[in-house]
């Protein structure tokens, strides 16, 4: 039973982690909150669904379509809702307004296109059930876990081995220094939005596979959870977001299984506040002093 | 001479860097005590420890015989140690006189009733605080500038404002971190007269300053820091002849 719950927690947590990594990457380079990131995730889920319904390519193709759709929307948001504000000074608050606005637009466009109700997310995989001794998992869950692991390894290689990954880390260390070192900051920021949003899109498809239903408003809750995970892990810390996501997923599943299911979110945010009290800069301190 | 402030074996480490290494000194009551040394010698670190902004890694600080290591900066101020900042820190959005009035915060705790009276404009204390702040501005030579905004002041006046703010908290020990930076000869003379007037009011002054002529002319006692350690201490006449000081500091700089 416990092992089964742990497995479910890891499954849920890995999607939280993917969304939170997106937040933390963007926070790293810009020191800003991106309140439409949940909607980017939601768009990925719907794009993946279209791939499944129309072309019946299977989950892997759905994943790729979701990833690309989210990346495109994410980069578009940087061009429309972040860059113009950055050009006109250094307001920390205006991007929150513009991303709230962009989120509303994305929600309504998706509602108009797909309806406000929950849309079923079919997957043949979820009907296959594997018995692994003490736990049993569906094909979808194995898929989710393998995708999450592969994605995180790929991300690790990206930020440590590739030119843009390294430039991204340099930029999150210090924007001015990065500019002096000849890094094209705007390009790096655009790439960061692309990568962060692609991760969100992957998470969207995975959540669709996991819960077999998606809605245009699914991004709101995921967005809030993603921010909580980012805080738990430490602002700007990729590995903190990974661990924090898993932790939150496990705590939520456990609280549903052993405590009061309807208080799940209270436990989730309680955990966040507790960690903030114990370690004000999150589990993995990055040394970022978040000046306003 | 009774010592007002004791710095006792204070070290402060930042990661792998030892900014202060086992520094000990005493500041005598009523003295003008100067702290000199090359850039990066640890003078500002020592100031931050004394004013409570930094907690020493090792060692303790005591004021009038009472150990106050680890006390929060606002409590340190209430106790009677006030300071200015090398990088001037004024509150934009508050007028000059209001900036000075902030210095009185630590002094007055009016309780709920007092705060309410103040809120509805019945507070005599508020008026008194304003008067006192104006008087302090006069004292530092900024009469008539109370209603300006801080950014409208010259850097020199901004430094004076910080001194006025510190004085408003009625300290016994005033810490001045490079108050002469950017001053022309006339302003230097005014500053040295001001510091002497402050001492005449019964205050003790601890001064960090690069301007040697100013230090030598007003200091009663000098402590020399180099690379985090105290290498010499004595009267200006003694320090000027100290070979260690000359090689570490004077020789290296001039």
């Amino acid at each position: 039973m416990l092992a089964q719950q742990l497995a479910n927690g890891v499954m849920l947590g890995s999607t939280y982690a993917l969304v939170a990594i997106g937040y933390t990457l963007i926070f790293g380079v810009l020191r800003l909150l991106h309140l439409a990131h949940g909607e980017v995730f939601m768009v990925g889920a719907f794009a993946g669904l279209q791939a499944l319904l129309w072309w019946q390519f299977g989950p892997l193709a759905a994943l790729i379509v979701g990833l690309i759709a989210s990346a495109v929307i994410g980069m578009l948001l940087e061009l429309v809702a972040f860059r113009p504000i950055r050009k006109r000074g250094n307001s920390h608050l205006a991007p929150i307004v513009s991303t709230i606005g962009a989120g509303l637009v994305l929600q309504e466009v998706m509602t108009k296109t797909f309806g406000a109700e929950q849309t079923p997310f079919p997957s043949a995989l979820s009907r296959v059930i594997y018995n692994l001794g003490i736990i049993s998992v569906t094909g979808s869950q194995i898929f989710i876990l393998s995708v999450a692991i592969v994605t995180m390894i790929a991300l690790h290689l990206f930020v440590t081995r590739t030119r843009y990954g390294i430039a991204m880390r340099a930029t999150s260390e210090n924007l001015q220094v990065a500019a002096i070192l000849g890094i094209n900051v705007n390009t790096v920021i655009l790439v960061t939005f692309g990568v962060a949003s692609a991760l969100g899109g992957i998470a969207g498809v995975l959540v669709g596979l996991n819960f077999n239903a998606i809605s245009p408003f699914m991004g709101v809750e995921m967005g809030i959870k993603g921010m909580a995970v980012m805080l738990i892990g430490g602002l700007g810390s990729i590995y903190g977001a990974m661990i924090g996501g898993l932790l939150l997923g496990i705590v939520e599943v456990m609280s549903v299984a052993y405590l009061v299911s309807s208080l799940r979110d209270a436990f989730a945010f309680g955990l966040m506040i507790l960690i903030l009290i114990l370690r004000p800069r999150g589990l993995f301190q990055t040394g970022i002093r978040t000046e306003r | 001479m009774t010592a007002l402030l004791h710095v006792d074996g204070v070290s402060r480490r930042f990661g792998g860097y030892l900014a202060l290494n086992n520094a000990s000194c005493e500041i005598g009551e009523g003295d003008i005590h100067a702290l000199i040394g090359p850039n990066g010698a640890g003078k500002t670190t020592l100031f931050n420890v004394v004013s409570g902004l930094l907690r020493p890694t090792v060692g303790k600080v005591s004021f009038k015989g009472r150990d106050y290591t680890g006390l929060k900066p606002d409590r340190v101020l209430t106790m009677g140690i006030a300071r200015n900042f090398q990088q001037v820190r004024l509150v934009r959005g508050l007028s000059v006189v209001e900036n000075v009035m902030i210095g009185a915060h630590a002094r007055i705790n009016r309780g709920i009733l007092g705060n309410a009276a103040e809120f509805f404009g019945f507070s005599i204390a508020e008026k008194a605080a304003r008067e006192k702040a104006r008087a302090m501005l006069d004292f530092v030579g900024m009469a008539g500038k109370s209603d300006l905004q801080p950014d409208e002041l010259t850097l020199v006046d901004q430094r004076r404002l910080e001194i006025a703010r510190a004085l408003t908290s009625e300290p016994q020990l005033l810490l001045l971190d490079e108050p002469a930076a950017g001053m022309n000869p006339t302003e230097l003379l005014e500053l040295s007269a001001l510091i002497k007037r402050i001492r005449k009011q019964g205050l003790t002054v601890l001064l960090v300053e690069h301007h040697m002529r100013l230090v030598m002319s007003i200091a009663d006692f000098i402590t020399v820091l180099s690379a985090g350690s105290i290498i010499a201490a004595g009267t200006p006449a003694v320090i000027q002849r100290d070979p260690a000081v000359i090689s570490a500091y004077l020789g290296a700089r001039e």
């Binding site: 909150l33 205006a94 709230i100 606005g101 602002l235 945010f269 | 902030i102 705060n115 809120f119 950014d151």
Partner: protein
């Protein structure tokens, strides 16, 4: 006489202005909250429960405000050691916890909400509350507490060295804001007549944030302008019917890009 429709719009506008003020007060001290909805919920529920037990409306409002104020102290305590975006997400989490609490608290209706609240809110009361709230915001700048808040906003470490008690000032400003949000909640409950936890969710807090930032953070009157735009614009956008939120969202993006510091500039006396 206003028609009852516009009368009700005006009441909600007043409530939203109060919410804007509730966020503006701690913002003066550099504490930005994304959880004002939570304080509003506490005020709404406490006030509604009390009037249902025949407590006079005025007393119930005060009690709701005080309850929210105490919650503000509780929520503010963990915010003392953190800053900036940390505070925003922390308060967001606090707001969510409050929402989940009321969603599960059966004594106040739980998930099915609390109905049968008497229509006690009147426009003049809300106007008086807004005037008092603004007198407070205006006065606060000229007293010790306000100076301390501005100094903390500017640089909290320096403020502490100038003798300002960070703990007290931060908690007080947080709590004052929460009291105003609690009052707004009380008015809201007795205007909407039915409340449930999801009316005070994250989007409520986010919209409160919009009032202040859209209006201009450096000008207290900004909250009025911001609340007016956010409250009234969708009413006028009924023309575009189905695409209301799309047009509204696009306008938010455009305003943020056009005036990143908000529509109103800082009052000329305090220009920086």
């Amino acid at each position: 006489m206003l028609s009852s429709y516009w009368d009700s719009v005006a009441v909600f506008l007043g409530i939203n202005i109060l919410m804007g003020v509730s966020l503006y007060i701690p913002m003066t001290a550099g504490l930005i909250s994304l959880g004002q909805g939570g304080f509003m919920a506490i005020g709404a529920y406490v006030c509604a429960i009390l009037t249902k037990s025949d407590v006079p409306f005025f007393l119930a409002l005060v009690a709701g405000g005080c309850a929210a104020g105490i919650a503000g102290l509780v929520a503010g305590a963990p915010a003392l050691r953190i800053r900036g975006i940390y505070v925003m997400i922390l308060t967001l989490g606090f707001g969510e916890i409050v929402r989940v609490f009321f969603l599960n608290f059966e004594s106040t209706g739980g998930a099915s909400g609390l109905g049968g609240i008497r229509p006690l809110t009147e426009l003049w009361q809300v106007i008086v509350a807004c005037v008092i709230a603004y007198l407070m915001v205006w006065r606060i700048r000229h007293v010790r507490l306000g100076r301390a808040m501005v100094a903390i906003h500017e640089d909290d470490l320096a403020a502490e060295a100038m003798g300002i008690n960070l703990t007290r000032t931060k908690l007080l400003s947080f709590s004052l804001g929460a009291i105003v949000a609690g009052l707004a909640g009380g008015f809201y409950a007795h205007q909407a007549l039915f409340i449930d936890a999801n009316q005070f969710d994250f989007s409520r807090s986010a919209i409160t944030f919009l009032y202040v930032v859209l209006g201009g953070v450096s000008n207290p009157l900004g909250a009025i302008v911001g609340a007016a735009i956010v409250t009234l614009l969708p009413e006028f956008l009924r023309v575009v019917q189905d695409w209301r939120m799309t047009v509204f969202g696009t306008m938010l993006v455009l305003i943020a890009v056009w005036r990143p510091d908000g529509l109103l500039r800082a009052p000329s006396l305090h220009k920086s």
